[in-house]
Amino acid sequence: MFNLTTFRELVIAALWTGLLAGLLLTAVQQIQVIPTLLKAEVYEEAAVVPSTENSHEHHEWQPENGWERTFFTAVANISLGVGFALLIGAVMCLRGRPGNWRMGLLWGLAGYLTFFVAPSLGLPPEVPGTEAARLADRQSWWLITVLDTGFGLSLLAFAKTRTNQFFGIVLLAAPHLISAPQPEVHSSAAPAELAQSFITATVFANAVFWLAIGGLMGQFYKKEL
């Protein structure tokens, strides 16, 4: 029916890539991302408790702080890693496999710009306790921005005519001209420095994550010689 060997090679490369990149991300997050999140949660809880006596939020299961929470974060990071690696592998399979890990880094850079940098320009990474627009609106804008940026970047990189490359630039700019959904009033339980520190931390952590995904996929899914 279809080439099972190609599919299997792609999936195995993505599994290893996602596992290693997810574990690396979990380690990098411990430097600044997680400490900042935990500090912000203290402010968030302080802001919530007086207003709701019988809070229903805590009836749902959630991992205990400490090893349990770190374990589930690692599982989530690995799932994201495998998911992104499968997408990048699918594009590599269509465009031609990379020759080595250095070529893979370029794909990782494209993934970082598409899935992190572009959506973060409109919807910066937020600590818990930040007022934001309706979730469904933000998810739609996020998805449109990611699709649009991915398509725009591929036109810019691979289109053969100037007109199509220009169209790529228009696509890259479009979601930022139609600005991201914003809340009516901006407010946050955590102080502004914490929000800023979280942005810096995620910019760094995601760069490491994506370069690892790209580089490892480049290595594990390279052309047969």
Partner: protein, 65 residues
């Protein structure tokens, strides 16, 4: 047909069906698997999944809450 000589060169049917089997179908299947995983880890609103993946979602800058 004669108006698309370039396309015709690259896309004669045996070559096209080979590309479909060798590259397009495996890539599509892998892509769909990837999207499913990303949806579960990044977007699904089930409380358990949300709470388990909470820190990962904030870190990846997925819209959360």
């Amino acid at each position: 047909m004669s108006s698309t000589p370039v396309l015709l060169d690259n896309a004669q049917s045996p070559a096209r069906s080979e590309a479909l089997k060798d590259r397009i179908l495996p890539a599509m299947l892998a892509g769909m698997l990837g999207l499913g995983l990303l949806y579960a880890a990044g977007f699904a609103e089930t409380a358990q999944l949300h709470n388990a993946a909470h820190d990962g979602r904030h870190s990846a800058s997925f819209p959360c809450h």
